[in-house]
Amino acid sequence: MSTTIDPVAGAARAGGDPTGAFGIDWALIRRQIGGILRLEISKNLIGGRALILYVLAFAPVLLVSLWVVVPIDKGLGGPASGAAIFANIFPFYVRVSVYLSALLLFMSLYRAEILERSLHYYLLTPIRREVLTAGKYLSALIAMSLTFALSTALLFVLFCAPWGVGELMGYLFRGPGMGNLLAYVGIVILGCAGYGAVFLLAGQFFRNPLVPGLVLWVWELINFLLPPLLKKISVVHYLRSLYPIPVVEGPFAIIADPTPAWLSIPGLLVFTSLVLIAAGWRARRIEITYGGE
C-alpha cells in the first residue's frame, strides 16, 4: 500500500490563480461553485424532491393540454383571449406552484443535508461558507428556473393554441405574444430568486420551516386584501407590477399603486442579495450537531 504524500497545499496546487480583487481568489471560487453545481443540480433535478417540483410545475400543463384537445367551446377571442385566461391564472400559479416549490427546494438545501447527516462533507472542504451558500442557492435557482420557465412557456403557448397554429404564430411573432411570454418567464425566474433566497434563510433558522412557510404563504395569498403599505412587504406585489397583461383582483381587492418595473426589478434583486448575504452570514455559524435534529 502506498504512503506517498503530496504536502503542497493551497490554491497553487489546485491549479488556481493568485488572489485577485479584494484579496480573493475569484478563479478558485468559480471552480468551487462549479463543483457544488455539479453535485447539487442533479440532486435537485432527480429524485423524490424533484418529483414534487415537477408535479407542481407540470400538472397545470397537463391539465391545460387536456383542455386544448377536449372539444369544448373556447370562445371566439383568439389567442389574445387565451392569453387573458393565462394572465388570470398566472398569479395563482406563482403563489401556489412557484411558492411551494421554492419552499420545498430552497429550505431543503441545508436542512435536508443536516437530516441526512451529510452536510459535514461540504463543511470539511476548503470553501468559505458564504461561497457554499451561494453555490447551493445557484444550483437550486438554476434547477427551479429551468423547470418553471419551461412550464410557464408551455402554459402560455397552450392557452393560446386552441385557435390553430397560424393564429398562434401570428400572435407570438407578429403580435405581443412573444413579449408577453418572455415577460412571464422573467417574472417566474424573479419569483424563484426572491422566494428562494427567503426560504434558504428560513431553512437555516427554523428546524421545521413548515410553520413560517405556511404563514408567509397565507400572507402572499391574501396580499390583494391588504392595505397598500402592507402590500409592499411581499414578493408577489412587486411581481404583479411586472405583469404584462393587467389582472383584476376581484371585488374585495384593495387597490395600490403598482411599483414601476425600473424600481421593482432592481428592488427584488437587491432584496434577494440582502437575504443571501444574511444566509451566508448565518452559514458561518452552522455547527454539526446531528444528534440534536
Binding site: 407542481l56 391564472i89 411551494l100 420545498l104 431543503s108 420551516p209 413548515l210 412557510g213
Partner: protein, 289 residues
C-alpha cells in the same frame, strides 16, 4: 468433546393476546405526541369546542337559562336550533381541528422509523406489516375520533336526553352522518398522512406535501371546473367531497360538486391509492438501487 452450556431458556411467562399487540405502537406514540405543549394546547382547544356546543345544547333546551339571558336569550333561541345544520357546522369545525392535528402528528409517524432504520426492528418482532400500519393508524384514529364522531355522538345523546326520545327517533340519520362522515374524513387524513410519512423520510416535507395536497387540490379543482365548465373538478377537493356526503346524509343543501356516488367513489379510490402506497413502502428491508 464439545460441552454446550444451555444458559438460554425461552421466556416461560404469559404473552399479550396477538390481536392487541399492535396497540404497543400507539401507546409509545401518544407519549411522544403529548410531550409537545403546543399539541396538548391544540388538542385541549379542539375539545373545548364540543364543550361549548354542549353548553349551547343545554341552554337551548332550557327555557330558564334562555329567560335569564333576556332579549339575547330570545334572539339565541330564534337563531339557533339543534338540528342538522347545527351538527353539520360542528362537524366542519372539528374537521378543521382534525386536519391541523394530522399535519403535526401524522407525517412523523413512519418517517422517523424509516430515517432511523427502525422498520426492520419492528418487523422482526411477531408483528406483521398490516399490524404495524394499523398501530400507526390507531394513533390518529384514536386522537381524531375523540374530537369528531365521539364528541359528536355525545352531543347527539345530550340533545336526545334533553329533547326526548321522539327527537332521537326522528334524528337517527344525524347520528349516522356524524359517524360515517367523521370516519371517512379521519381515514382520508390518516391514510394520506401515513402514506406520505412512509414515502418521505423527512417529516417536514411530508407535512408540507400533506398541506399542499389539500390546498393545491382545492385550487386545482377550481381550475378544472373553470376550464372544463364542470363540477367534477371537486374530486380533487377532499373536504368538499366529505361535505357533500355529509349534507346528503343530513338532508341539507349540499355544496357544489359531483353526485354523492361520485364523491364516495372518489374517496374510496383515494383511500385505496393510499393503501397501495403503504403496501409498497412498508417492508422489513431496504431496496438499494
Amino acid at each position: 468433546m464439545a460441552v454446550y452450556e444451555h444458559s438460554y431458556s425461552r421466556y416461560p411467562g404469559p404473552f399479550t393476546p396477538a390481536w392487541s399487540r399492535f396497540l404497543v405502537l400507539p401507546r409509545f406514540a401518544f407519549k411522544d405526541v403529548f410531550k409537545s405543549r403546543l399539541l396538548v394546547f391544540f388538542y385541549a382547544l379542539s375539545v373545548l369546542v364540543p364543550v361549548f356546543y354542549g353548553l349551547a345544547i343545554y341552554a337551548l333546551n332550557n327555557l330558564e337559562v334562555l329567560d335569564s339571558l333576556g332579549n339575547a336569550g330570545d334572539e339565541l333561541g330564534r337563531m339557533l336550533k339543534v338540528d342538522e345544520t347545527f351538527f353539520s357546522v360542528f362537524l366542519l369545525v372539528q374537521s378543521g381541528f382534525a386536519f391541523w392535528l394530522t399535519v403535526f402528528i401524522g407525517p412523523g409517524l413512519i418517517s422517523r422509523d424509516l430515517a432511523n432504520n427502525g422498520l426492520p426492528l419492528y418487523l422482526s418482532r411477531p408483528i406483521s406489516r398490516a399490524e404495524y400500519v394499523l398501530g400507526k393508524l390507531a394513533v390518529l384514529l384514536l386522537l381524531l375520533s375523540g374530537i369528531t364522531w365521539v364528541a359528536g355522538l355525545l352531543l347527539f345523546l345530550l340533545q336526545s336526553s334533553m329533547a326526548g326520545w321522539e327527537w332521537l327517533a326522528a334524528n337517527l340519520h344525524v347520528a349516522a352522518a356524524i359517524v360515517v362522515t367523521s370516519t371517512l374524513w379521519i381515514l382520508v387524513l390518516s391514510l394520506l398522512a401515513l402514506a406520505l410519512s412512509a414515502w418521505l423520510r423527512w417529516k417536514v416535507v411530508a407535512g408540507l406535501l400533506f398541506v399542499m395536497i389539500f390546498f393545491v387540490g382545492d385550487l386545482f379543482a377550481l381550475l378544472v371546473n373553470m376550464l372544463f365548465r364542470t363540477e367534477w373538478g371537486h374530486v380533487f377537493n377532499f373536504d368538499q367531497l366529505i361535505q357533500i356526503v355529509a349534507a346528503s346524509m343530513l338532508g341539507i343543501r349540499p355544496p357544489d360538486g359531483p353526485p354523492v356516488w361520485g364523491c364516495v367513489l372518489a374517496l374510496l379510490l383515494f383511500l385505496g391509492f393510499c393503501l397501495l402506497l403503504l403496501h409498497r413502502k412498508i417492508r422489513a428491508y431496504q431496496v438499494v438501487s
